[in-house]
Amino acid sequence: MNEALYDSIVLDRARHPRHAGRPAAFDAMGAGENRMCGDQVSIFRVGSTYRHEAVGCAILAASAELMCDAATGKNAGEIAILAKSFEQLVKTGQASPELGDLNALAGIAQYPSRLRCATLPWSALKASLAGDPGAGDRDHD
């Protein structure tokens, strides 16, 4: 059975998150919601580190985790570049070295309907950078 998407990193990070939970104080936040399935995620910036609150499936949780890892210490421009690469990854399934652990989500390319699970944290992150907490992705599809 090809369950590659649910490899050990993804499952591990979904079940044992390192960046989960709303910080007591934060510099910026952004949220995203997929109303079709009830997935919700908020991203909080504290200095140059990130935390998330993710309610949804394992892909959402793992993507939020790995994104927080990857975004730590990066500036907005660097994050934008990373977001682009990530988008390529989940659309094409082609791993790329600069994405590091994020490559674990490459398998999502085989599940177009799950794409939003992986990209929702990134929309929320962008919203937090834009300083517009409500600008996350709220579409239904």
Partner: protein, 412 residues
């Protein structure tokens, strides 16, 4: 277990459904999503092909051979539908796109003419959006109230709540699902009809799920409106049905304007055709209606008694094997239930369940099943759902159970 009806030869029936022999991700295709839409037997595919290859033209206004053939075939399906649900007359059958349009048609026409601002419509906590949103829209446009009848922990209608909702006499329409697409619950429709009628209200039933699993008799129920879709009944998409009692239909103003629904048209004024044509504007779904006719012939030939019995066995079997799975919780435990089972699993989100099952060739649905408010009521955001058809095998339910064990281990 009744032995009165001959059990279905499911393996033989499956030969009628070409799609079931496909492989998915290299695995045998286990389709447990019939509640969303059923697969189509060869007989339906063939009927549609035949009309397009041999008897096609626009209907009703044609004086030539092909048009007469197509019109006859189209109108014959009205008789088939009337027979299927035991309507009093073929003129009580209106063709729509789907159950959703049928409900909206009633909300727009009967709702805006027979209901006055301040009158109330009552629905239950376990409605599909199709039987909730149109009444919200009617409320906002027309000033009617919308009331919600509660359900019990077992997922059945709460009669105390029903009494309460009707207490002030304002409810003029009780619109309920005949079978829940999430919990599988059948509602006690004869009793509900009596209840509503005694209180001066009409009863509308959303039969989108129920029509597939058991014989429906709108006159025995004494339903005022009954709606369903062709595509869940092994027929094509693009065709649905609204049944309404003749005396109600006659009073209803038209929904859409255009060809075929008029008696006469002037630049300034027009007069309407009699029902059912009054409600069928424009070129109808000719090919799909004929496909629906073939689907009705098919299920009636298989026999509703046998289908109901088969699905009862499947449901019992499924409830049995699924309840063995650690951490799996089945939602709803109604006494009277049909072949739709929703569940959640500890630590595994419904979407992850569906994706992992899909990799094993097993198709289940995951999400809110167009019943978002019910999800809230049940305290979940989504569920996984397995639903059965006349072609479903017990072995497929065993495959589901095996698949779910794998999911459980992955997330354990």
């Amino acid at each position: 277990m009744s032995q009165a009806t001959q059990p279905l030869d499911v393996h033989k029936l499956r030969e009628d459904f070409p799609i079931l022999s496909q492989k998915v991700h290299g695995k045998p295709f286990v389709f447990l999503d019939s509640g969303a839409s059923a697969q189509k037997p060869k007989q339906v595919i063939e009927a549609m092909r035949f009309v397009m290859e041999a008897q096609y033209a626009n209907v009703h206004r044609g004086l030539h051979y092909m048009s007469e053939k197509a019109s006859d075939a189209y109108e014959a399906v009205r008789d088939k539908v009337a027979e299927l649900i035991n309507a009093g007359s073929r003129d009580e059958i209106v063709f729509t796109r789907n159950a959703t349009e049928s409900v909206n048609l009633v909300a727009y026409t009967w709702g805006r003419s027979a209901l006055k601002p301040g009158d109330a419509v009552a629905v239950s906590e376990m409605e599909h959006h199709a039987n909730l949103v149109p009444w919200q829209m009617l409320r906002d446009a027309h000033g009617t109230a919308l009331r919600i009848v509660k359900i019990t922990e077992s997922g059945e209608l709460d009669w105390d709540s029903l009494e309460e909702v009707f207490a002030d006499g304002k409810v003029k329409l009780l619109s309920l699902t005949h079978m829940s697409n999430v919990l599988g619950t059948y509602t006690p429709v004869e009793r509900l009809a009596k209840f509503a009628h005694e209180r001066g209200a009409k009863l509308m039933l959303d039969g989108a799920q129920a029509i597939v699993h058991r014989a429906v008799d709108v006159r025995a129920i004494d339903a005022d409106f009954y709606v369903f879709s062709g595509h869940k009944l092994y027929g094509p998409t693009g065709i649905g049905v609204l049944y309404a009692k003749a005396e109600i239909l006659e009073q209803m103003p038209p929904f859409m304007g255009g060809g075929d629904m008029i008696a006469s048209v002037g630049y300034q004024n027009s007069t309407w055709a009699k029902p059912p044509h009054r409600f069928e504007a424009g070129t109808p779904a000719i090919i799909e209606t004929i496909g629906l006719g073939a689907a009705i012939d098919y299920v009636r030939a298989v026999g509703f008694d046998a289908i109901a019995e088969h699905e009862r066995h499947l449901t019992e079997h499924a409830l049995g094997v699924l309840s063995q799975i650690e951490g799996l919780r089945i939602l709803g435990s109604a006494q009277d239930r049909g072949g739709v089972i929703s569940f959640v699993m500890k630590d595994a989100h419904a979407h992850d369940i569906a994706t992992l099952l899909d990799r094993q060739g097993i198709a289940v649905r995951a999400g809110h099943h167009c019943a978002e408010p019910l999800m809230g009521r049940l305290g979940v955001t989504s569920t996984a759902r397995a639903s059965f058809g006349l072609y479903t095998l017990p072995e497929e339910i065993d495959a589901l159970a095996t698949g779910l064990e794998r999911v459980r281990k992955i997330f354990a």
